[in-house]
Assembly symmetry: D2
Homo-oligomer: 485 residues x 4
Amino acid sequence: MNSENFTLCEKVVAPSYVRQGSQARRGHEQLIRLLLEQGKCPEEGWSESTVELFLNELAVMDSNNFLGNCGVGEREGRVASGLVARRHYRLIHGIGRSGDIAAVQPKAAGSSLLNKLTNSVVLDILKISGVRSVASCFVVPMATGMSLTLCFLTLRHRRPKARYIIWPRIDQKSCFKSMITAGFEPVVVENVLDGDELRTDLEAIERKIEELGAENVLCVHSTTSCFAPRVPDRLEELATMCAKYDIPHIVNNAYGVQSSKCMHLIQQGARVGRIDAFVQSLDKNFMVPVGGAIIAGFDEAFVQEISKMYPGRASASPSLDVLITLLSLGASGYKKYLSERKEIYSFLAQELKNLASAHGERLLHTPRNPISLAMSLDGLQASSDQAVTQLGSMLFTRQVSGARVIPLGKEQVVNGRTFCGFMSHSNSYPCPYLNAASAIGITREDVTLCMKKLDKCLKMLKKDAPSSSSETLCSGLARLFSGSR
Amino acid sequence: MNSENFTLCEKVVAPSYVRQGSQARRGHEQLIRLLLEQGKCPEEGWSESTVELFLNELAVMDSNNFLGNCGVGEREGRVASGLVARRHYRLIHGIGRSGDIAAVQPKAAGSSLLNKLTNSVVLDILKISGVRSVASCFVVPMATGMSLTLCFLTLRHRRPKARYIIWPRIDQKSCFKSMITAGFEPVVVENVLDGDELRTDLEAIERKIEELGAENVLCVHSTTSCFAPRVPDRLEELATMCAKYDIPHIVNNAYGVQSSKCMHLIQQGARVGRIDAFVQSLDKNFMVPVGGAIIAGFDEAFVQEISKMYPGRASASPSLDVLITLLSLGASGYKKYLSERKEIYSFLAQELKNLASAHGERLLHTPRNPISLAMSLDGLQASSDQAVTQLGSMLFTRQVSGARVIPLGKEQVVNGRTFCGFMSHSNSYPCPYLNAASAIGITREDVTLCMKKLDKCLKMLKKDAPSSSSETLCSGLARLFSGSR
Amino acid sequence: MNSENFTLCEKVVAPSYVRQGSQARRGHEQLIRLLLEQGKCPEEGWSESTVELFLNELAVMDSNNFLGNCGVGEREGRVASGLVARRHYRLIHGIGRSGDIAAVQPKAAGSSLLNKLTNSVVLDILKISGVRSVASCFVVPMATGMSLTLCFLTLRHRRPKARYIIWPRIDQKSCFKSMITAGFEPVVVENVLDGDELRTDLEAIERKIEELGAENVLCVHSTTSCFAPRVPDRLEELATMCAKYDIPHIVNNAYGVQSSKCMHLIQQGARVGRIDAFVQSLDKNFMVPVGGAIIAGFDEAFVQEISKMYPGRASASPSLDVLITLLSLGASGYKKYLSERKEIYSFLAQELKNLASAHGERLLHTPRNPISLAMSLDGLQASSDQAVTQLGSMLFTRQVSGARVIPLGKEQVVNGRTFCGFMSHSNSYPCPYLNAASAIGITREDVTLCMKKLDKCLKMLKKDAPSSSSETLCSGLARLFSGSR
Amino acid sequence: MNSENFTLCEKVVAPSYVRQGSQARRGHEQLIRLLLEQGKCPEEGWSESTVELFLNELAVMDSNNFLGNCGVGEREGRVASGLVARRHYRLIHGIGRSGDIAAVQPKAAGSSLLNKLTNSVVLDILKISGVRSVASCFVVPMATGMSLTLCFLTLRHRRPKARYIIWPRIDQKSCFKSMITAGFEPVVVENVLDGDELRTDLEAIERKIEELGAENVLCVHSTTSCFAPRVPDRLEELATMCAKYDIPHIVNNAYGVQSSKCMHLIQQGARVGRIDAFVQSLDKNFMVPVGGAIIAGFDEAFVQEISKMYPGRASASPSLDVLITLLSLGASGYKKYLSERKEIYSFLAQELKNLASAHGERLLHTPRNPISLAMSLDGLQASSDQAVTQLGSMLFTRQVSGARVIPLGKEQVVNGRTFCGFMSHSNSYPCPYLNAASAIGITREDVTLCMKKLDKCLKMLKKDAPSSSSETLCSGLARLFSGSR
């Protein structure tokens, strides 16, 4: 309400009460002012009522909500269903313009503010999480994989001759496909075994660069967050190498924002060498629905070049989700999630270690992986061929989600290319294992319950062996757990 | 409530009332049954309560809503903000898997159903709207332009040698960029003037094909819906030509679902020749928020190939919006919108004709464009150089949205390529003009109000001329209206 | 957003777009200003977004939403459940103070505004609906019956000796109970038969007054809206009589706001004689959930006396519902509902007449009842004793709601008093009948569907007769339909 | 979804995933089953999604949501505004029937279930909170005061001759008014000073009973929860006395459910003597919006008699709020709130004691009051006549809500009766004081912030004294804080 309306209110209820109400309103506006002024994530989270007030204010600025608007264009932000209008807070025009996904829309000042502020708040959070020198970023309503594709497509215009992308192996289909879709040839470099850990084979990479010719290499495509026993790529060394050979470097940081280690690697890589862009998932780092990613970089011009590659307007939905979430949590709330995740990582490691030793297995020693853990399944494998796969199926039906079981020697064809030992990031990892991760938002209850159920399943499987299990194995599930994520 | 619970209810309130309640529940379930069974848009729209009941049922089937779930993966569908969870009906897992955006997710039976049903219902609507023989389609949470890019990237794997895309000129940045982003070289074919209409230059296209060699052409990229005086491309002839030369054919049908003419062109093209895929916007055809598109085609295998190119999971938000909308409207409700749009097109044409003649201008004769109309601005142009641009600015500040003003001879560089007469789809259209469109959801009030304001603006501009206008021209707005959409 | 924040926005997106957004905001504020200034129902309904913006503004003014509030009282507007907070738009403090349900709360300027504005808007609607000279009113979150009780309790303090309430018979339990609960002795005056109509027996009433002594009569308690064949009481004559004997007069106008006839009777009664208060239901007149009533009168001081009788604060929920509804509809929207209702009344009368004659029955001639109609069931009664009751049960199971079946000669004890011919407002109405009403919000489809089902039921019953019906009669339902509403 | 639909789902997505989804659904249904079976508050709180699923299920059973319903009655549950329908989960028919607010409605099986279950769950919570032997209760959508009035009106029918209500003085207007509104004469019995505490004067009460004659006394109206230094009435002795003289006994337990002491007093009173009904506020005990109360008793027949006194249907809104809240919290969540409240009571007492001694005041010794505390303001009073009142005003503008300042010797007329020393429950309490309470939902931050602000205010007032304060005293506020709550 504007001051004129507050004055009118004073004729209806006592002026002193109205004055206090109007003062209270200023409290909310003060928070909004700080956001607009600084473009940063507020230290303390906002209440739901401030968030909704703010979103309503934005919506009112979009032309589809103008009371006297008349529209004779082909895209007027009309909404047929009230359910749909409400769930988007009546912000209908999406983000960006045909020329640039980060651009401002004349028809939609509110949606444009939403877009700009989201990118600004997210940039702040990337800094807080460890990449202090990040220069620019934007939210894009696409999966991490498709966002990587967009980076590669952008690089094509800078390096029209290049056909290869050098890629230290990581067994996630969408990583591989991001290169295929962009039309490049992935050059898969196998990892080396270092104790239990699978690490970047720097020498092999350098060899490949020299073999192919630096000018024919579009970029190096490295990965931070990944399943143990693989560990984050050696970003510092890779970045130095990319600088040396003048090759772009794109980092897949899918769920790495939640880990100070992953973020530190990126920060260091950019400091000592070359990182052109790093891409992260919204849902995996910020507990929002699937569907968005952040493309970030250290050179504002290059980041803008990527944002200008997206042809057309885009969904504001992922931006809206992450903005609501970060305003609600505040920087302090987000940091609290991060530190809890770290604590529960240690707790999970300890629990898994205990469980492993109780069943004659062991927790693989992978200290460089800050999120994911792996427990060997040698004994289980020994008891029966199918037992490892069956464990996955049993956990699924017991509502343990996210635990992955990796059998030995699985072959898989992805886009025409055969991977041996698929899912294990290695042609021949020494043992089968089970993964469990401590990802943002996990609770102690998750861990405790998971350990209990896992313990039960392992006991059941042992009892059954060596005769075939009494639990009929659903072939669909079997395929599921041995096949892909 | 299941039957056991209904029986328990009978102990609390009279059995006969409970029985009636349970019977009423079956009414809703019957509607859901039909949807599941037939996969079609219901003829009559559902009530909000049936829609919400259905969405809640879906959500309950996703693992993030399991009461006993424990998660130790890196992506568990956790949501930090209640506001966010609710606005997505707690459907958090998005759509697709890393391998295929149309695939089913083990963790999320509900979201998977949502995805499958949406694609199925949308397919039904495409058929109803005129493309009877469409074989398959899927909703993708990307703009029309980016979706076209995905089609081109898919074709690259089929035609690795091809570098060119033949494109009858249409002045919308994202159309042009969709090809640039995919890494191809657009071959722009100017349109021919036929009366007032700008039409496909078939001969020039055939010449280009022969000049470049069919095997070097990735595809022909044609357009249906567009701004007058351009009219939809001659799809039948183009499709025949593509068949003849064995060249793929991708159709940009951005807002063409709403027009039986555009849909008929596609149906005919596919019947007599070759159309590999046609792409349409969700927001422009179904009155949902910006951000989604439908990729459809006549060969199920090829459509699936495209859906498998998207690396990673994707946002379910556009699918959710269009499903809610179509279930709420029903086929009959959607058809009603279509016929109203058609009627208002005639009304708009008549009104614009009257207005034009009152101001010494004329309605351009473009009967082949079923959506957009154009009125000449010769007189205005004569009065002052700036007047045409200024008209655009004046309409904007008067909350007339969507009316485009096209001055003569504007040059624009898009991705390094210079377009003369940009916005007019022609190097030298004979006159400046103003566009107005009758798009789905438009009302008679929109037209009436727009005409009134337009009339006023034209009168003001005449009074001002020849001296410069008293209304100060905001340079930002001037750029806006003469520059791009 | 305040002007400072708008200025900050201009640094994020182009000033001209922000300016248009801020201008659009003023459009909404202008509507709010009119409401605050005039206290009237807006002529045109508000959009959902204006309504929600307004409610959010109110909520922000309540102390439970102050960002820096600290509470050490026993009632601080805390809410444990987010679902609950949201559904009340965070307006938690209710309405009124311990001293007066219409009073302003220091802690809750927003809720107080809501309360005052609702009463003011509702007063405006009462005037528009025909009681032009109404002086004051307030919404109370109680049923019509309990609100009548509150009126009687207030009168007790003015007439401490009075023990009787004179009441022209109307067979609705809550009307009778409203007097019993207040601790008075209802003096039931039977109606007289005038053609088919049951009308007020003025002479009997005057006799009763003289017999009991005016000073022993608390008030006359008359009724407007009622089921045919009873018609509204003769308010003019009763009001004149009350003036003559200096007896208060309370009118039960339960669902009479929707009928210009009922409202006219009240207006006339107050003009020529005495009406102290008239009470109407919110749900029955304004299509909101059950639970509120409006107490209105022609003497502001007396209405305030009633509002001061309510001990304690009260639920704001009914006020909120009716305010949202009236702001959304606007006066024009409400008037449209009223005229549609009137039209459908004629349609229903005609349809019922046709149906009656087809089945050898007749539409009772009750032109003075503007809402309810009655069709004789003589023939049905003749066919079988149970047939009339059974018809009610059959309609219920066929989802015809609101149709009442009135058998002959039913006896019912209400609060210790026996009523002969209960439900028919008469000891011995000449025939059994069925009621149907045209109430606000009814549609032509309601009527058509009801007629079809009624026709079917009547046919089935005839076929069955004279042997007992094949449809087993649920005794619970039988009790229901012959017993009470 | 019923089993038929689940089977259909299996044709769309893999059967094993659907099966898991359907199993998950059973998880929710299992919770609902327990509720229906036992009618108790679940031990663990339900998730929002279970709560909403349940409410949607209820709504579907009401006739206004039947898909094929046709309505020709005067009350059909139609809702004009979608905003209103949604905020009530489409439960529109309210609770009760004209005959009984606790009765079942044929048209609304869902709303009826809601009503019955709420009363049942609330009864369970009353037992858990300490009144183990309570027999029956119901929620009524009226303030505590109006609910007390309803109890008195019900007793009138049992004791037609009685005119007096004996009432140990408590200075809250609505308590006094509840008796006046019901038409009885309150016999105010002053409290006795026992140390700092004000306690029931048992002898004076017994004298009054004998003086007036037991048969002329409608009931004793006692109070548990109250502001210190008054303490809960001596219920055991009063109950014994009521039993001895055969006088009904109604207890005002406004915010006593949150205190095990208050609940224990009621339990003991009923065990050793007579308590007919006890009434408590919903908002003050369950953190829901203002507007509802629970009427409870030890004799089911009497409680039902009260519920049958309410004439007409009533708002379901307060029932819905408390049901949502209790299902969300679960018994364990509610008990957690109770124990936190108790802890913070001790914290508040300690903090207030420290503050008092720092300012030369003292915490009054009132160990029998488990909720409210009082700190003397002797020194402040000495410094200036207005200082005490001014303190209240200063706290209000500093957003400290709920702190009451009680000056000496205030006179107030309530419904024609003059109270000396109003607000202090005593004609002449020895000193002025300030109240603060630890009520359910209070946090440590509330206490800490309040102490800080109070400290500041006291310092400011001392500095100002003896000259008049520099802070201009708003007369409206002064009236507010010395006048009433």
